[in-house]
Symmetry: C2
Subunit: 443 residues, 2 copies
């Protein structure tokens, strides 16, 4: 064979997931899928390649520079790799209008591509995980999304988190209340959005620097620094801004949302009304949600809200939609940081490795491995002609929890020696009893 | 909102998978993953985008015309969408030489892209599903692959199938035996490969037409039409060709393979030695496998074999490898044709829909839905303000098996009325007993 001329390497910003990493990812994916199903969200999958025209004009010019184009020699269509999961959803609800029942509750867990400058924790191919409810105006839908988030995070093992809830309409109202509009209103949002980073004093300074009038700054700060628990926060807002129509609508929505959450037994410590939470995306029209891991403070893991105008885009109508993205790549990393992966989500899918001493014992080992598999035990049969020491080293390197040793003595006796590598625990049992013993040793 | 200017449509050869279809696909994917894990195959995932140079020179010119290229504005790397899962495997085993334990048993279940002319059952984005064992020369590895195939197909519900086993070396030997070499040998393979389509007489005619000498044709036909059961087939080959070194090696390998299969209790009716099975790909070096569904005759669902020279490509060495592709897209279709999807793999993930009569009963319905979810029941809470009849129609259209009705009477009584849509069976139970009753009604 010729010497290799091509160096094995990846494109910029791309990753391979070797088994150890994949096993963690699939653990997270499976929990998330299970919770989606529990709430009646159905799986949807769209192709990686979309028509270029489907994606253009949806994300803004800066974002659209990051889209990967695709083409095959002689191809006539202009194609592009999917940039998010929302535009494909919009295309789907228009394209299959007669087949899709409304409400349409779908999730999609798929990679997207963005040619951003790669940096720590940011890649050019990464998974997004979106759940949305299309076709419902009532706050019951928003409550389902919020309940879904708390269940998913709880099942993943997070204990200290908070879904921050705000309402786009409330931000408009704050602007009215404070006498800010147009560009000034947008700047005001951007400044409030920095609350987490720069604190109240920082926001105040920034507003002043932006030329916002002193009395307006004072009014805004009064509102955004208010931290009343639960519904008291809404009462406070009503007192202060209840005369503004936008605020009335916003507060009414949030009250309804709170009623639904209460009825659904969503623990009140898992969410809070926070006026400083401003989602960056301009397309939201109602309640918005963002979840932060609070203890330790590890930032945001979900983002979403109600966006009634985007999903109907290809249908040429407004189509009420609310939903959330789970920051699935971030969640996968956080489970490592917080040590939330269960012990069996280690380096391998294998539960037991069966050793092979040599040609004279191979058939017995092969038969035993087959029996274990029939009993549902995830089994690797060792396959190289190596000494037992090397076989153990291999099992250890792969972090296989148990090794089953079948030497000529065990074969003659109808037994097998099971060895747990973590603590060296060893036990010899009849082969028929092995599956039960294995399950005991693994637990 | 402006009228839509962009028609919602897909690129040529691409598909959306709406929930009904996705549920079937995930059912198949899950079974296949479970069986891979049972055999100790570990999940691997490589990125969709590879460097163009990684893919080039591996598949042959005609194939390489079908590769989709990708690029982002200003990007300097030449990228391409993955064309198969074997070249990425070869890249990975070279790139992570020190991290990957040998034997490396990996599977990958991922889409690939090929710009072929779309036709019935052929798409430009489709899933491949490969399991390979890297680093083992012994036939134990090939036997594992074959055992894996039979278990996977059995678990999927296939009952009548046959893994046809041949050996590339045997085909070389047949050439020697028949005095055919070079181009003539290649033509001979191509003709034998048509056996399934044109039968023995067709192959004979084609060989004659190709100008193969009459006595050579007779000898070849004697070999390829031999149909001895099990090991007798190998005995026959040994009698006829035992004096040729290539045949000796091939027959020795197949005998070893049969020994392993026997030790692993792989039912002998699931495989046969078939000299007319010639895998198209030129890179095989040892045993080759192809599975056909026999009753009814529905063609091939797996293909694979030993290819010792490809996976070491980027390492510049030969690296023994054996494996199989499951034709996962074909399998998904066949399960429909053969009606092998279990009844619960219907149109929806939802097991129960909870109706909502109106604002006065909404809280109770919401609380009940939350309780069902806590008990693990996949539950949809109806969300539009529609009459009960419309709610039933929606449940029916979505093929939700059960509806839970909570009217004011049931709320007062602490009960719920469960209705099974398939047969109209109705029962009213205490709400605390609902999860158990639901599981009974679903089974």
């Amino acid at each position: 064979m010729a010497k290799p001329k091509i160096e094995p390497r990846l494109p910029k910003g791309m990753r391979d997931f070797l088994p150890q990493e994949m096993i963690k990812r699939e653990y997270v994916f499976n929990i998330v899928r299970e919770v989606f199903h529990l709430y009646g969200f159905e799986p949807l999958q769209t192709p990686v390649l979309e028509l270029h025209e489907t994606l253009m004009g949806k994300y803004g010019e800066d974002a659209e520079k990051l889209i990967f184009n695709a083409q095959h020699p002689g191809g006539k269509e202009e194609l592009a790799l999917r940039y998010d999961l929302t535009v494909p959803l919009a295309r789907v609800v228009a394209q299959y209008q007669n087949e899709i029942p409304i409400p349409f509750k779908r999730y999609q867990l798929s990679p997207v591509w963005r040619a951003e400058r790669p940096q720590r924790g940011r890649y050019r191919e990464f998974y997004q995980c979106d759940a949305d409810i299309v076709g419902v105006t009532g706050m019951g839908a928003d409550a389902e999304i919020l309940s879904l988030i708390t269940t998913a995070l709880t099942r993943l093992g997070f204990q200290q988190f908070s879904v921050k809830v705000n309402n786009r309409k409330l931000l408009t109202a704050i602007g009215e209340y404070a006498g800010a509009e147009g560009d000034q209103l947008a700047e005001l949002y951007r400044s409030i959005d920095k609350f987490d980073k720069v604190g109240a004093e920082g926001v105040r300074e920034e507003l002043v620097k932006r030329g916002v009038q002193a009395d307006v700054v004072t009014r805004i700060m009064e509102l955004v620094t208010a931290r009343h628990p639960g519904l008291e926060q809404l009462n406070f807002l009503e007192e202060v801004m209840g005369n503004l129509p936008a605020a009335q609508a916003a507060i009414r929505e949030l009250r309804e949302l709170a009623d639904h959450l209460n009825a659904a037994n969503v623990p009140a410590n898992f969410y809070e009304f926070d006026l400083t939470m401003v989602r960056g995306l301009g397309y939201y029209t109602g309640p918005i949600f963002e979840t932060v891991i609070t203890e330790p403070n590890l930032g945001s893991v979900t983002g979403g809200g109600r966006y009634d105008d985007l999903v109907g885009l290809f249908r040429g109508e407004s189509l009420p939609t609310t939903g959330t993205s789970l920051g699935i790549e971030r969640i996968i990393d956080l489970l490592d940081i917080l040590k939330l992966y269960p012990p069996h989500i280690g380096g391998t899918v294998v539960q037991v490795m069966v050793t092979v001493f040599g040609d004279d014992t191979r058939a017995a080992s092969t038969a035993f491995a087959a029996d274990l598999r029939t009993a549902g035990v995830r089994t690797e049969l060792y396959m190289l002609d190596k000494q037992i020491g090397k076989q153990m080293t291999y099992a250890d390197k792969k972090r296989i929890p148990l090794v089953a040793v079948l030497g000529s003595q065990e074969i003659a006796d109808g037994t097998v020696k099971l060895k747990r590598l973590a603590d060296g625990e060893e036990v010899t049992v009849n082969r028929a009893e092995a599956p039960a013993k294995i399950s005991e040793l693994l637990s």
